[in-house]
């Protein structure tokens, strides 16, 4: 009795090997296509924008003359926006995640909240703009300030941060917590000393992705009525400001080609800002993940 029918194996070998290579190249193609699109986008933006990208561009106010225009106010405004968004989202987002994962009872109400948070992550950003306009700009009378826009952006990205932080906290093995309790630690000590450090890399990854979204969003700012042209910088979170995506949006809608090139240069700066933020997050992540 032959356990293996050699002939059949040989017959089937060819299509199997073919399928094996076929899928390999299919996936390679999928990755390749994404990379090509990205490369074309980068290529276009860099070719168009690089000639305009210089110190003067970083240091000038917007202008009707393309060669004199710059992103000084817009870049500063975006940084100011982050000053509000980063602490608000980190504290509220991680706090909510800790509560939901560590304290909240697993009942229908919690599930209901959970589902809603996930749904909120999919709400179009314009809706958050409208909410921010009525709530922060008008009702709380913050005006079109850094604070109003920052809080609106925070609402926009909070669901994403909460969900990703929850996943990171859930991924911490319960043996860690049990060991901590066994040593006589309280719940708070356990969270602070065991759960948070272990989940920090995951929390940061999610947060950075969310914050990158906050940096790039235009729609809520347009709805809030954030001004586009300012000849001054904000001195506090209660001052008016403008942001990079607004400036880019405005330049792309202009009829003159030079402004489109300026928009490309603005996009390069925005990309650079994102890369810096991402690298900082990766550095912090690597520092903490080594411990476990």
């Amino acid at each position: 009795m032959k356990l293996i029918d050699q002939e059949q194996v040989i017959r089937r070998m060819k299509p199997r090997l073919f399928r094996n290579t076929f899928f390999k190249y299919l996936f390679l193609l999928a990755t390749g296509l994404c990379l090509i699109v990205l490369a074309v986008l980068f290529g276009r933006i860099f070719i168009q924008g690089l000639p305009y990208l210089d110190w003067q561009f970083m240091n000038s106010l917007p202008s009707r003359k393309p060669e004199e225009a710059g992103i000084y106010t817009a870049l500063n405004g975006t940084i100011w926006l982050m000053v509000v968004v980063v602490p608000v989202t980190m504290i509220l987002g991680v706090g909510a995640a800790i509560y939901l994962e560590e304290y909240a009872k697993k009942n229908r109400f919690t599930t209901f909240i959970q589902v809603n948070i996930s749904n909120l992550a999919g709400v179009p950003s314009v809706v958050y703009g409208l909410l921010g306009l009525t709530l922060f700009v008008r009702t709380f009378a913050f005006g079109k300030s850094v604070l109003a826009a920052g809080l609106t952006m925070s609402l926009l990205v909070l669901p994403v941060i909460i969900v990703s932080a929850q996943e990171a906290i859930r991924a911490v093995p319960s043996s860690f917590r049990e060991a901590s309790y066994a040593m006589g630690a309280t719940k708070w000590t356990t969270i602070l000393r065991v759960v948070l450090p272990a989940s920090l890399p995951g929390i940061l990854t999610g947060s950075i992705l969310a914050l990158s979204r906050a940096i790039g969003e235009t729609a809520p700012l347009v709805v809030l009525g954030i001004p586009l042209f300012l000849a001054f910088l904000p001195n506090s979170v209660f001052d008016e400001f403008t942001a990079l995506p607004m400036q880019i949006y405005n330049w792309t809608s202009r009829p003159q080609d030079e402004f489109h090139a300026l928009a490309a240069a603005g996009i390069i700066v925005l990309l650079a800002l994102l890369i810096v933020m991402n690298s900082v997050a990766i550095m912090i992540r690597n520092k903490f993940s080594k411990r476990y």
Binding site: F229, L230, A231, F238, T242, N250, T252, S253
Partner: protein
């Protein structure tokens, strides 16, 4: 545990209340000190301080941007902010008392007037420049020589049929017309709606876009396309587009700086407006800024692709402004 929760909750609430309380206080105290400082220096050649808030039409934005840029060279301490929420969004903020000046690419609507009245805001309308709405076709379109306003109506109003060029005039090709129009939120659409569509619905097949560059690309890429947008977009793309002269009963007129300024290019040349809150004019920095805007809008609007009003109109506007002081 329960106590902790209560504590946390009350901390949150106090925090929120404190924040709300701080916001307006900061704002008002800032404004007060600003206007106090100004009372001492009434003369316009002196250095002014304070804030001017402008919002509204994205069409008017480039003119305002240019005005502020020049203005700040004379008065670097007047903080002017210019937004572009669109004409409608601008009026909303104007009625909410958030802005001193509202830019508009169409005259104020009755509902908006009512809202302003309700809010007790008195305002004055100033024309600041002209824009010639340009009707354009593809460069390879060799049949369209001119269109009358009735032709435009026939082309753009939805009547349930598929529109072909041959429906408009005999001898034109039997090809389907492709439409490119600014989005229904824009003042440009509102104006076209008023003078051409007359409130009737626009063709359903029209590609609507808020970005006029998309319309330029659309018309450039399709031989049977027709579109319309602000003069600046045609002026920048003259070599890629063919502009259609419009006949309003007095012969076909092409939009140019001269025909738009003289009013020969009708009915598609439209004025662009700024609406100024009368109360704000008592602040010297706002008055000075509006005066500067009206004095310089002519040259500056030409620089950014629009058409200057005749000089008499600016003079008249300036004397109206003088009376409001």
């Amino acid at each position: 545990m329960k106590n902790y929760k209560k504590l946390a909750l009350s901390a949150l609430i106090t925090g929120a209340v404190l924040l709300t309380a701080c916001g307006p206080q900061e704002g008002t105290s800032g404004n007060e000190s600003g206007s106090n400082g100004n009372k001492a220096s009434e003369q316009s050649d002196q250095q002014l301080k304070g804030t001017v808030a402008v919002d509204g039409s994205s069409t008017v934005f480039p003119i305002m941007e240019a005005v502020v840029e020049e203005y700040n060279m004379n008065q670097p301490n007047v903080k002017v902010s210019v937004g572009m929420s669109g004409t409608g969004g601008g009026f909303e903020a104007f009625a909410a008392g958030e802005t001193d000046i509202s830019n508009a690419s169409r005259p104020i609507k009755d509902e908006e007037k009512a809202a302003l009245e309700k809010a007790g805001i008195e305002y004055t309308e100033f024309e600041i420049a002209y824009d010639g709405l340009s009707v354009v076709v593809n460069k390879d379109n060799d049949w369209v020589d001119y269109l009358t306003v009735d032709d435009l109506k026939k082309i753009w109003v939805e009547d349930g049929t598929t529109k072909k060029w041959s429906d408009i005039r005999d001898g034109w090709p039997e090809e389907e017309i492709k439409f490119y129009s600014p989005g229904t939120d824009s003042g440009t659409f509102d104006y076209f709606d008023e003078v051409v569509l007359d409130g009737q619905p626009i063709v359903e097949k029209a590609t609507l876009s808020e970005d006029d560059n998309t319309l330029v690309t659309g018309v450039t890429g399709d031989k049977n396309a027709i579109g319309y947008f602000g003069y600046a977009y045609y002026a920048e793309n003259k070599d890629q587009l063919k502009v259609v002269p419009i006949d309003n009963g007095n012969g076909a007129v092409e939009p140019t700086n001269e025909t738009v300024e003289s009013g020969k290019y009708t009915p598609l040349s439209r004025p662009l407006y700024i609406y100024v809150k009368n109360e704000s004019l008592s602040k010297p920095e706002v008055y000075d800024f509006v005066k500067f805007a009206l004095e310089n809008a002519g040259t500056l609007s030409e620089e950014v692709g629009y058409v200057s009003l005749p000089k008499e109109k600016y003079d008249k506007a300036l004397s109206t402004l003088e009376d409001l002081k």
